[in-house]
Amino acid sequence: MKTLIDGIKNLCIGMVTVGKHLFRRNVTVQYPTERWEMPERSRGIVVLLSDQETGELNCTVCMLCMRACPASAITIEYEQGEKGKRTLKDFIVDNTICCFCGLCEETCNFAAIKMATMYEFATEDKESLIWHMDKLQEMGRDVPYEKPVRKKPAAAKPAPKPEVKADGEKPAEPQPAEAASTGNTAADPAIANEPEQKPDNRKPDQPAEDQT
């Protein structure tokens, strides 16, 4: 008998608790019409950043992002001119296998690639998820970013010359000196400058990169 009364009492406590919630404010939003403001660090789709003034890509074809990518989602095509200078021909991001880990953004020393806060890129076919340079640049046009602050311009070295920064800064080198703040040491420039073999285009259905 006592357990019965206790039981009913506790059931009522539960009902009152739920009942109270009826009059609380909703915590969800009506998605397509209202949206959360994404935090600045949120890792959405990969975009290529351009210089705000000249409008050219910041990419220097150092290939670091391509090596860092655990899913091999990035393919960079370039032309090798004299003295090993590279010009970017195409920059392909395969969003079907991108795992949004952000390693490309972290390795880049030139603020050339970033994971923007955008997250809506659903399409109707697989092909249109493979983004090329122009699309990536287009997407990245309005993405705010901070230019890496160079402590000291690295000693000039016959290295791939990036486009000249508008603020008259020296051409950036694929040198990780500025990464000291986080204490990491990226690949040394010698390796970064090695002529790269172009990796084979990988099958998009490789088993590795399931987004779980």
Partner: protein, 372 residues
Amino acid sequence: MSESRGLHTKEFTLNVGPHHPSTHGVCRFVLKMEGEVITHVTPVIGYLHRALEKICENRTYEQIIPVTDRFEYCTAMSCNMAFSLATEKLAGIEVPERAEYLRVIMLELNRISSHLIWLGTTSLDLGALTPFLYAFREREYILDLFEMTCGQRLTFNYIRPAGVSRDIPPEFIPKCREFIDMFNDKIDDYERVLTENPIFIARNKNIGILPPDVAIAYAVSGPALRASGVKFDLRRDDPYSIYDRFDFDIPTRENGDCYDRYLIRIQEMRESTKIVRQAIEQIPEGEIRGKFNKMNFKPPAGEVYCRVENSRGELGIYLQAADKEKKPLRVKMRGGSFNQLQVMPVICVGHKIADLVAIMASMDIIMPDVDR
């Protein structure tokens, strides 16, 4: 169902899963039943096998971290942590003080968020839908904190060998404090709806009793072990990181039934908030990542097994490195759910099919952890 003569009943084979609402991922149980009573359970796994271990053999150390995110996605932080610990142990890398604190904060927040998933799915499995949404409401706060820090809500890629990937933004500490201040009240809310509810008690008390000796023999770890009365928590008994600096209790219960496992997890959430509170008060300034060559890290040859306590128990990473190779020779992941699922046939026999659901829920088994 019944044969024509007398009270002979035919044994009934019921296939629960792989696409069943309550199997937490894609697990299949082949049940032999007599009426509603289970006589034999065979878990069939492998539906979520993603060959993560093979993938790891094919990646550099930095690139493995995103892979470990996918290992057990409810507590991706502890997977990152276990692998980072293994790498650090292998190469003798020092971790800065601030990074250790950040790791502990994130690990404990992640433990809470994982327990909240468990709480939600448990109540859902028992038919109460509302606590599920309450739990997810609080989980959103934590995920917001994570997203603010590392940019993702589920696959964090945050804890790295030698430190963490990014420092917390300035608004993190106040927000985190706000969360832990309100969170204890929210736990009270869940408890008011569930803990004393006679229906909830009827469904959980004396269901799925796991005796301590069986638990140890099957290496069932985490809250399921502590509910059986074994006071064993790797944060205390095999301390890693800086857990020895914090003051927290390890709750234990005696019966080892579903209800005790529920109480243990509720209590653990409270303890975790204690740890987070202490950590955000003590956190020093400084570096967040030690010396680690991201692109060309080549550890000396060796092998190491590292384990951390995550919300499902012992999460271990066995790492073997070949000499001066960028890629490891072998990465073995051991999740708590693997052993928890293994013990299911032992403790489910004699219960009803509805109890199977309750036991599965209280064991907190998720399939990516089992299948890898």
